[in-house]
Symmetry: C2
Subunit: 549 residues, 2 copies
């Protein structure tokens, strides 16, 4: 049997459906670039029918990452397949095709539920109607695109005999990859192995297709189920970076890849992944989505390797042999950071950024260098983590609507936390507002709210600093939701329902109150753009409620 | 075969070995109380030979949680077994027995490595010597205590035939539970199932003992391996809350318990766990250890349930049936919080705290009520999460050495963050210090450092607030390490080496800079007590470097 396992990354589609993970187009493109550099085989770039924004984001990835000409293939290898998700409807399939057709290797992925509970309560369709719809829609998709993936949703709770029938019809209609999802994370590994083995043994025509598995982690078994699927003959795995996704998330890319890599002798299988990129991609996804990685997360958690982050142990060598089954270097965790400082020049900065994978135009470099110098004035040594924080902060700045021009805060135990904020609006006008609050962050956000006037509720607020000293950059992520109704809704591919969209923001600064203001503004800016309250040129389509309450 | 699966919780032993998870005795006791309330069968309360402090903490748990008389058994059920870990040496076993003997049901857990790599490089012993040591030490432990658990360390990489021999000898010498650890998280579920089945089939006398499994999550497979062990016949599972532990951590209690609970029909097995306590225990362990839980963590992550935390979806009922395999209420995640406010009295507060599981003496209630009123002045509504933050902050305050008497901070984009701190030392004297820093937290910590004079390096800093509005309590956790050498070392049971101890601190306040100061002081206070620089009465045994630099 074939030894190669295809890695289908759905961080930008299923991962982005996590509450609050909403990404801007620029962020999606950056993530797609690093996924391609890590050599994933397929990038599921989004659900184009969700909104015009989603379609355009997928289109841009198809053009810029899915083509060798556009720099996606500097090493002469093939570029990844770019895939778009579509429900089993003509509209969705048209949108998906429109989005991916610009890629060198486009794929349309369509799905329909096959479990009794989903057919009855969600689809309100008979099994016969489901079969008819699959034939029709897979056939339609195949008339547009050579590479078609079909998923029977909630396969884990479907009748196996019915699955064989539906999958056989999908193959006849032109599907080239059959993906079996355990949509609700319900199956046990031995059950899932049996399910996949049964499908391979009993589905007509399946030997000429690729069988894929897509697992969820509701009971903590996504990785085990994925490996069980592979044992039964699956040759594509659908995964996300850091295992993000709805509820408890999807299968973690890093866990499956490193299990196969570490236990090569047991499985005798391989992926195309450049494992040394794993740590960097993990950090980028965490920062852009605002979804933190717990320290005890396998492979990419801060504690995953015994001797990480400032903890110096005697007898490291002995310890490595007795307690480590993989080396941190293998997944790109480096023990020593090359350090820049106050006297480092523009050239040193550019070189280091390029080593970290950031390629900048001259104008961008100038902006980053300016901020680098500001930071170097405050902080003795600038580490790779600082540079990454700076770059990520920069990506947000590029899509700025309101800009933080100044902030002044007083707080403490005397009990009257006060913040004065000065913002520049899209037309260049300055607005100043002072507010008190329950704390400095509350006071700052209230002042910003008064100027921006976009009603919202803050769902989550996190500050994080891993540091070799107190003076590190603080990284703040916030997550908020618009409270003014329908304008921020977004269609979910599974439930067909419009769900209130949440917006994440990221900010980095040595002053965590400044970082908080930046993160909050970043999220608000996303909200304003996404709800159409700012047109693409940055012009306000509403009147801000001035500077006084 | 027996249907009952014993839950052996090692959060306080293997979990506490996580970098930075160092807990105070008071915290350990609180956690042991909630573990008992959740009805775990065995609490591994620590490694008594590590230090006198560790021994005393286990002793206190044995006396107060391991005995019905001391209030551990208000519902008339049996109290948990209290277990202490010991290397295979007389000294360790004596320390463990001294620590657990006060419990109604004491257990000694001893271990010795059996893998070739561990025997050669760590133990420097022949296989024959290992067998002899096991016979001798299990026998010695059994002469003290009826209930003896033995673990062949790194069993996952040991020769099965050698394992059968060692385990058979351990049983003859008196071991009643045989625990099989996959110490480095290396095995695949199918391999682990085979290993356990082989042990049960081939070890003399094993039918009269309980077989236990202890897995690590380095490849994301701890839960799957634990379930594989159960399928092969294991009837005890060793787990930690939130899956904390060294490196990528241990098997998660909540994942194994809820997999068996959700898939009762498939496994036909049961545990004694009161699942409705899971969410609360998870929060307490996260707050006390300072180890956050990622939102996409199975069962206990903030996003684990589809419709959590302020995200309102249409058609919830339909969605529950189609996308949810368990109800949030089952693990104690409640949809609506009973809310208290400014006008709530002492009685209402006590009632709500008791519902949340906190039983307070009158004097403690008075202190908490005072802080509750302060909070209610700042914040309109007080939720359960606020009350829990308040209570956890309170637990830290009880062990205070230096006390935060006042804090005043100015910061913002003007670039001269300044903090003025007033601390009360253990003798009641006030110290005031102003400092500038790279940000308000840096300035505050520098001012505190100047007064306290305990050299340390800050390893990690996190702020978290899940909130229905901006004005929530901010919860800050910090982790630091003393930089003055040997006085803060602590013996690791596995490596026999002294490892630099790290200290975690927690603080909660509506002002995150105030919360940061409290968290930092809490960690510093732990460091001072643990390194013997403050004696138990709170008296300084060194001269603080006064108030100026």
């Amino acid at each position: 049997m074939e030894r190669y396992i295809r890695v289908f990354d759905t961080t930008l589609r299923d991962g982005e459906q996590s509450p609050g993970a909403t990404l801007t187009s620029a962020e999606k493109l950056e993530i797609a670039r690093v996924l391609a550099r890590m050599r994933v085989d397929v990038i599921e770039a989004g659900f184009p029918a969700a909104s015009q924004d989603d379609l355009q984001a997928v289109r841009r990835i198809a053009l810029e990452v899915g083509n060798p000409a556009a720099g996606g293939d500097e090493l002469g290898r093939t570029v990844p397949i770019i895939c778009g998700l579509a429900r089993a409807s003509k509209n969705d399939i048209d949108a998906a095709w429109e989005a991916v057709r610009g890629a060198a290797h486009p794929r349309i992925h369509t799905f329909l539920a096959t479990s009794p509970i989903h057919m009855r309560y969600k689809l309100r369709m008979d099994p016969e109607e489901v079969v008819e719809r699959v034939k029709e829609m897979v056939g339609y998709a195949r008339s547009l695109c050579e590479d078609i993936e079909f998923s029977p949703e909630d396969a884990g709770r479907s009748d196996p005999e019915f699955l064989y029938l539906v999958l056989g019809e999908a193959i006849k209609a032109g599907a080239t990859t059959l993906n079996i999802p355990d949509t609700v994370g319900y199956t046990m590994p031995e059950e899932f192995e049996k399910l996949i083995a049964g499908i391979i043994a009993n589905t007509d025509g399946i030997q000429n297709t690729i069988v894929s598995v897509h697992c969820h982690n509701d009971l903590g078994l996504a990785t085990a189920n994925t490996l069980a699927g592979i044992r039964a003959g699956a040759r594509q795995v659908e995964v996300t970076v850091n295992g993000i996704g709805e509820r408890a998330g999807n299968t973690s890319l890093e866990e499956v890849v490193m299990a196969l890599h570490t236990r090569r002798a047991a499985y005798n299988l391989e992926t195309g992944i450049e494992t040394t990129q794993i740590a960097r991609v993990s950090r980028m996804v965490s920062n852009y989505t605002g979804i933190p990685v717990q320290p005890n997360k396998a492979i990419v958690g801060a504690n995953a390797f015994a001797h990480e982050a400032g903890i110096h142990q005697d007898g490291m060598l002995k310890n490595q042999m007795t307690y480590e089954i993989m080396r941190p270097e293998t997944v790109g965790v480096s023990r020593s950071n090359l350090v820049l400082g106050k006297h480092s020049g523009r050239h040193a900065l550019r070189t280091r950024l390029e080593e970290l994978g950031y390629v900048l135009a001259q104008e961008q470099l100038d902006r980053v260098f300016e901020r680098f110098k500001e930071l170097a004035d405050k902080k003795k040594t600038i580490t790779d983590a600082d540079l990454e924080a700076l770059m990520e902060d920069q990506v947000y700045q590029l899509e700025e609507v309101f800009h933080l021009d100044g902030l002044q805060v007083a707080c403490g135990t005397m009990g009257m936390p006060t913040a004065t904020v000065r913002l520049q609006d899209p037309e260049g006008k300055l607005h100043i507002q002072a507010s008190i609050g329950t704390g400095p962050v509350d006071a700052t956000f209230k002042a910003i709210d008064t100027i921006v006037g976009a009603p919202n509720v803050l769902l989550e607020f996190n500050v994080h600093a891993v540091t070799e000293g107190i003076d590190a950059m603080g990284e703040v992520t916030v997550r908020l939701q618009a409270t003014n109704g329908s304008s921020s809704l977004r269609t979910s591919p599974q439930s067909d329902q419009n769900r209130a969209r949440t917006f994440g923001g990221y900010g980095a600064d040595t002053d965590i109150i400044v970082a908080s203001a930046k993160a909050y503004l970043a999220a608000l800016n996303k909200l304003l753009v996404s709800t159409g309250r700012i047109n693409p040129a940055g012009e306000l389509t509403y009147v801000a409620p001035a500077t006084s309450r």
